[in-house]
């Protein structure tokens, strides 16, 4: 028996094998397709369910029902014209930051010494470095009336009241020492008029006062500016002692 005799058998077998293989591929394809169709069907069924649920929700929450709920419970109404904003700028305008005082923050005092301003002669406007007139504080414009009758009396123009120690106003702590220089210190005799002239003890030109006495009642004035902070007792003394030097520095 030679191989040649089995040739046809091999042929048949290989044909059958090839056909079986083809069939298996085809079967595989068919089963894949079937499962795909199952998925498609499931999708469609899910879509149908979604649709049903959407319809139900839509029906239950129909606009007329919402309107009824609004009338009974919510009471929302159409917005007014002024409730609309035209842009981010208008929106930003609505949220102006509030000025907040932080009481816990450390107190920072405005303790810088007043700049050594040159006082212009009386009657002239003060000028700053550039020579431009410096606006005078309103308080400095106040004039004390002082009626003097003595003929020999030196004509003393009433001087503007001493400017209040603005920088120190409101602060009474012990750290306030540098500001003390700005306190109403006893003035030099030259400048001593008005308020300062009423200090009998410290007044240099006593005669002026004495001569004024018979005419008017003694003018009683506060020793210090009542609005100014109360100075430390010994501090004020030392200040009074050094007032001359300090005054030049003013």
């Amino acid at each position: 028996m030679s191989v040649r005799n089995f040739g046809s058998l091999f042929m048949v077998a290989s044909c059958a094998g090839a056909a079986l293989g083809c069939y298996l591929v085809s079967l595989r394809v068919a089963s894949e397709r079937a499962s795909l169709e199952d998925v498609e069907t499931k999708i469609v069924l899910a879509q149908r369910d979604v649709r049903t649920i959407q319809t139900e929700i839509g029906t239950r929450a129909r606009l007329s029902q919402l309107e009824r709920w609004n009338a009974k419970v919510l009471a929302l109404s159409a917005p007014q014209a002024d409730q609309f904003l035209k842009g981010s700028f208008e929106l930003a305008k609505l949220t102006t930051p509030q000025h907040k005082v932080d009481f816990g923050a450390p107190v920072v005092l405005a303790s810088a010494p007043a700049p050594a301003t040159h006082h212009a002669p009386i009657g002239e406007a003060e000028t700053d470095d550039a020579g431009a007139p410096v606006p005078v504080a309103a308080r400095g414009m106040l004039h004390e009336a002082s009626f003097k009758t003595d003929a020999g009396m030196r004509e003393v123009p009433s001087k503007p009241a001493a400017p209040a120690p603005l920088a120190a106003v409101g602060f009474k702590s012990a750290e306030n020492k540098p500001a003390a220089a700005a306190k109403p210190a006893p003035k030099k005799a030259v400048d001593k008029t008005g308020l300062a002239a009423a200090h009998p003890a410290k007044a240099v030109d006593k005669h002026v006062l004495a001569s004024a006495k018979p005419v008017t009642k003694p003018i009683r004035l506060a020793k210090a500016d009542p609005l100014a902070p109360l100075p430390d007792r010994h501090l004020s003394k030392s200040v009074s002692k050094t007032s001359k030097d300090q005054h030049t520095g003013r």
Binding site: R51, T55, G58, L63, S64, P79, Q80, D82, F84
Partner: protein, 570 residues
């Protein structure tokens, strides 16, 4: 011996014949066998080929047809934002086959009467004994009821699912949508007008998109409905339209019906007042008269002066005014105070022929152009159209149009004078905007803006104003024709408004049929008291949705008209 005779060797002739026959038979047999084999092989080959064919291209046995895409039995109807307005659902239907009932009929009738109390036990019993094959007991039954009926266990009861048309928003836009009959065919509104589209399998997969916006529709219906209730009106209608495209954004007619149960609706409820009903809408017509006069050169300026006496005797009739001037008045004042006497004179100057031509161009002499089938034909004096009729038409009496037509007229007037037919379908690739036809000039359209804004700012329509939305419009109070005579007490009040007036985008027309006076209106039944507030409230609600931002600093160019208004009253 002699040679064998050939006769001895030769077969016998009969035998020879036999051999020949045998051969023949054998050959025939071979032939037949071969033929049979070929047939057999052919059949096998055909089967094999068929199997191969099916294996390669064919469907398999488990394939489910018709579920590869969700195509409803009838197309959906959705609004312009895609919100469903009509859908087909599978609803439970309970029916009975009296001939198949095997249990106790009396007991069954009693149980049915308890579960479905629409009929009494007697009626059910009569139904069961009638011998008829089939009765519907309940369509669109709730699942609870279906469960309870199923629990009766009677084989004669048929419980099945049937496609049913559902309108999720119930009465919303009922007259636009219409309804379907028992066979699922459209019997009104869009359902009827687009029945073919909605039922054709090739098109019904895509929903039909209307131009209606359900939110705007709801706002209009709510405000109009409360006004109708407040003033005890017998009917109402309202339309909101896009000026530039002619799309109807909302359209309502009251009393309304529930399309889910159309059978319960009265004829009055089924009547669409917005498109089918035609009404003499009164003074809302005056702007057309003035615009006609402007376009034809009769009015050269809104400051043109007419003589406005207390009453006008003309062509054997007398024309009255509700707010008579008793002096000379300008066109601006005529509009502001809605003077019939002034408008009548303007209409008289226009003349019959020109008036007819204008009205024809605006479509006021024909049926309203809309896809719906419920369309009313406008009424006019016809052959009796004389000079006096021209005057009355000038101020809106003697011509009857549908509210939708009036809205269309205003849209034309404020869309730079170009007419676009109104549509109920959303404008888009399937429904492009057709080229319009020019009716009024752009200049006239522009001048009318400030004139109508004046009416709302200072004239009869003050209550229609919504701060910031620049509403302009015109009130209309028409005497109702009852039994051939104009009633002195029964009115149809309407308001036609446009907003924002500095760049008109939307038209709103509202109408109340036979409103009654209330304490709050001080006994008045005129439009300024009952429909104008509806416009104000509706516009405040819908304008933000329509993208119209309120602005208290914008107005149309009022400098055109204010110099011609004589202010002495304030």
């Amino acid at each position: 011996m002699n040679a064998p005779s050939p006769a001895l060797v030769a077969p016998r002739p009969e035998r020879l014949r036999l051999v020949g026959q045998r051969r023949q038979i054998l050959a025939v047999m071979h032939q037949r066998l071969m033929f049979g084999m070929l047939v057999y092989a052919g059949v096998v080959a055909i089967i094999a080929l068929r199997i191969l064919w099916l294996a390669a291209f064919g469907d398999h046995a488990g394939r489910k047809e018709g579920l590869t895409a969700l195509i409803p039995d009838r197309g959906d109807i959705v609004d312009r934002d895609g919100e469903p307005l009509a859908r087909t659902i599978d609803a439970w239907t309970i029916a009975i086959h009296p001939t198949k009932v095997i249990g106790d009929k009396l007991a069954l009738a009693q149980k049915l009467a308890r579960l479905i109390p629409e009929h009494s036990a007697d009626e059910y019993f009569a139904m069961l004994r009638s011998g008829k094959p089939f009765f519907y007991l309940r369509r669109r039954a709730s699942p609870d009821l279906v469960e309870a009926v199923n629990a009766l266990g009677e084989p004669g009861l048929a419980i099945q699912r049937e496609p049913d048309r559902l309108y999720p928003q119930t009465t919303l836009a009922a007259h636009v949508l219409g309804f379907t009959d028992i066979d699922g065919h459209g019997a009104g509104g869009v359902e009827r007008a687009f029945d073919k589209y909605l039922s054709d399998p090739s098109t019904r997969g895509q929903p039909l998109t209307l131009s209606i916006s359900s939110k705007i529709q709801q706002a209009l219906e709510h405000e109009l409905g409360s006004a109708m209730q407040e003033f005890s009106a017998i009917g109402a209608a309202g339309v909101v339209m896009d000026v530039h495209t002619g799309e109807v954004l909302a359209m309502t007619s009251m009393p309304s019906l529930n399309p889910n149960t159309p059978g319960q609706a009265m004829p009055d409820q089924q009547f669409n007042r917005a498109t089918l009903g035609v009404f003499e809408l009164g003074s809302t017509f005056k702007p057309f008269t003035v615009a006609m006069a402007m376009d034809s050169g009769v009015i050269k300026s809104v400051g043109q002066v007419y003589n406005c006496p207390h009453e006008l005797h003309v062509y054997g009739h007398v024309v009255h005014d509700t707010h008579p001037f008793g002096r000379a008045c300008t066109v601006s004042e005529i509009m502001m105070e809605s003077s019939n006497i002034g408008t009548a004179q303007i209409a008289d100057q226009i003349g019959i022929q020109r008036q007819k031509a204008w009205l024809k161009k605006m479509g006021f002499l024909d049926k309203v152009e809309i896809e719906l089938r419920e369309r009313g034909r406008a009424l006019n004096p016809g052959s009796r159209w004389g000079p006096f009729e021209t005057m009355t038409i000038g101020f809106g009496q003697g011509i009857a149009v549908a509210p939708l037509q009036l809205a269309m007229g205003y849209a034309t007037l404020f869309d730079n004078g170009v007419y676009h037919p109104p549509t109920i379908l959303k404008r888009g690739p399937n429904n492009p905007l057709p080229a319009g036809r020019r009716v009024f000039s752009e200049d006239t359209s522009y001048k009318m803006r400030s004139l109508l804004r004046l009416v709302v700012m200072k004239g009869t329509g003050k209550k229609a104003d919504a701060p910031g939305y620049r509403i302009g419009g015109k009130t209309g109070t028409a005497q109702k024709l009852i039994n051939g005579h104009y009633s002195q007490t029964i009115n149809i009040t309407s308001f036609a408004g446009v907003f924002p007036m500095d760049d008109p985008r939307y038209v709103i027309v509202v109408m109340l049929d036979e409103p009654h006076a209330t304490k709050d209106t001080y006994g008045f039944t005129t439009a300024g008291w009952n429909v104008a507030p509806v416009v104000s409230r509706t516009v405040s609600r819908i304008a933000p949705m329509l993208g119209v931002a309120p602005d208290l600093n914008r107005e149309p160019n009022m400098g055109e008209v204010l110099p011609f208004v004589h202010e002495t009253k304030e």
